[in-house]
Assembly symmetry: C2
Homo-oligomer: 415 residues x 2
């Protein structure tokens, strides 16, 4: 078993102080002690270090009639700016965050889902950053790091290569390409890891240590945390729930296997389902996936019968696929995220909840919560910003990244 | 995130010293320091505590020409006896272990798979223990604990109730029933947790922290460890891979859902597959499941064409089901255990390995090892003995159980 050293313990304590401030807002040292269970001496030491680096600041001082005044501490939003980027197959969304991970504004660039040259995608990322920086009036020298989520397998042990079978990318050294263009520290990871971290910091992670965040978009997957730890897998490839079976020898999935969940719940899967119901349905004429999903959402409002049947089948597939996830891991919280979820969860979730007990073992059904994620904004961008904040604190020597693998610490000094 | 206290750290260090002795055999303090990475002072303190409690003993003393003599330490096998029990739907196997978890002998009692009254099962457990105790000449007052694996969901938070849908058990307080009859401390858990712990201590856990142990028998499931920690789930119900889908709306599973892995890979699933191939096959005339599996193994040796086709289909189902497990968790090691595996893995594994790349994403296929478990003997009984050893050390005040949930510490003082 891996052993924790006292250094790990100190790091964890540092992250707990930060998480406490994210969770309960501006707090006194005593409140941090109560919230974290750390000793007053430990909290005092860590707060002093964070104040010295400008990561925390004193928000207010309350004077009492007796004893010392109480200082309320907060994360110092102006210590720097972080850019969190969600690269999907159809768009790039770049959000500028302050150090307290408050979003200041974003820029979005559409990607043509039929083009996938690395230079084209890198260019899209740069344009999205430019747009976000301009919109928010961010000074570039205040950017302390850029976190980029790439849709594919991200292999930090190979110098942050990206393998994106959907784009036919085999070994694209995206970090190099981006750092050359940006001159900032770049941290690259996978959207499933990003949505899991966002949920851990800003969603159900506030009440639970174990959760699955199901991401529905062009691709489909699940970010998974167990007992407070992100599940990365041996090669950072965990969470590919979209490539577990719904139907042995069923629909051909773009991964090459037949019957995968993604072939039913990815946007192309929804298109295939609708084509089975009504091959001439006008929603199928939409040239782009987002247009298709928007047309489905609009048609559902209008009571379109083919789309109502599509929602029924999709809920059925989703209940079955989530049943597998819950039966295997006995996870107490499942949240839905991603742009398909945002557009359709209002229709999918009630039907899904009704059917779920048919798929989940009774012992795992008790106490199970399935809901739309309450993480605000773009969860992928937020999660990437949180990873980037961890990296920044690591570079300051304040903490080694808790959620990011050791092998990924190959980053430049802060800008 | 859950925080580790320095007390947890001390516990972990204690288990590391024990695990080192299990892994590398009789060792000097210096060898334990090298193997564990703990400080010499910590190792010296922990060894002194273990020696005082009789859990370790000095195996040999080597005198060198200079300096102090080297004492080689070993787990003291004669500090007590542990009984590890595997209750399956068709048999009870009770193994007597010494404190070093060496098996001394066992007793087996057949259970009629068509009878399932709790009194009948408890009686079978008692008879298996009596047989094991007699065979090994164990003095009953030296038994420091009994670990019982029950095929179903074990809910320690409900006073160790067992919910065994296959037996129509809803809330059987098995621990009470057994402690009343045995007068010993009883620890009850689920076979998937037991095989995982056995693999962690005595199998691939020696080289890796993440693994899935796939148990094939009447029922089917997977014990899962990630980064050195057993995955239990919210209600100790994790690992029910047997109740994930192979085929939406496929074969009816005895859990009530359609298309579960168990309906294809449990023994009854194999019987259904053979009935599809040749409904008049003589193996299907065997009244008991073990007789059926033995007949299949014998027929495969003889080259029976229907059984050869059965092995082909079963390997296909197994490759598909393991593909899901690996794609979801990016697990680097999968081992097969259970009595169906023991009888058939020679036929299943080569075909499975050939087909696996069709089901596993390339990024998770690299470095993946799938093999028959090398844990010696009955892995369920061994795992239960290991849990019981953890409980015993906890009662001595030497360590709180590392792999057993806190809520489960409701045990009597040592006999």
């Amino acid at each position: 078993m891996p052993r924790q050293t006292s250094r790990d313990l100190r790091n964890e304590s540092r992250f707990e102080v930060l998480h406490a401030l994210f969770e309960i807002g501006p707090s006194t040292r005593q409140e941090i002690v109560r919230h974290t269970g750390l000793s007053p001496a430990t909290v005092a030491t860590l707060v002093t270090e964070f104040l010295a680096e400008g990561v925390l600041r004193i928000a207010t001082v309350e004077r009492s009639t007796v004893g010392r005044p109480y200082e309320r501490l907060t994360i110092n939003p102006d210590r720097g700016r972080i850019i969190g980027i969600d690269v999907a197959e159809t768009y790039v969304d770049a959000t500028v965050f302050d150090l307290a991970l408050g979003p200041l504004g974003h820029g979005e660039v559409a990607l043509d889902e039929h083009e996938n040259d690395p230079a084209y995608v890198v260019d899209g990322i740069i344009r999205a950053i430019d747009s976000a920086v301009e919109t928010t009036g961010t000074e570039r020298d205040r950017i302390i790091g850029v976190g980029v989520s790439m849709p594919g397998q991200v292999r930090p042990d190979a110098g942050v290569s990206v393998f994106a079978p959907n784009w036919d990318w085999h070994d694209v050294r995206i970090e190099e390409l981006l750092e050359k263009r940006l001159g900032s520290s770049v941290y690259v990871d996978n959207p499933l890891k990003a949505v899991a971290l966002a949920e851990m910091w800003f969603g159900v992670g506030r009440v639970a240590g174990s959760m699955a965040v199901v991401n529905l978009g062009t691709g489909v997957g699940a970010g998974i945390a167990v007992d407070g730890a992100l599940i990365r897998g041996a090669t950072n490839n965990a969470g590919e729930w979209g490539h577990t079976l719904l139907q042995l020898d069923g629909r051909l999935c773009r991964c090459g296997r037949r019957g995968c969940v993604e072939a039913y719940l990815g946007v192309h899967g929804l298109e295939m389902s609708l084509a089975e119901i009504d091959p001439a349905h006008p929603a199928l004429q939409q040239p782009l996936q987002r247009g298709f999903v928007d047309a489905v959402a609009e048609g559902l409002v209008a009571g379109d019968p083919a789309l109502t049947e599509l929602a029924r089948r999709t809920s059925h597939y989703l209940a079955a696929g989530l049943g597998d996830l819950v039966n295997l891991l006995n996870i107490p919280y499942v949240t839905l995220t991603g742009w398909t979820s945002a557009a359709l969860s209002e229709w999918l979730i009630p039907a899904l909840l009704e059917e779920l007990p048919d798929h989940v073992l009774p012992g795992s059904m008790q106490g199970l919560t399935v809901e739309a994620s309450k993480v605000p904004g773009n969860a992928v961008a937020l999660g990437m910003a949180a990873f980037t904040l961890e990296q920044f604190l690591g570079r300051l020597g304040l903490a080694s990244p808790a959620s990011t693998p050791t092998m990924r610490r190959r980053l430049r000094p802060p800008a």
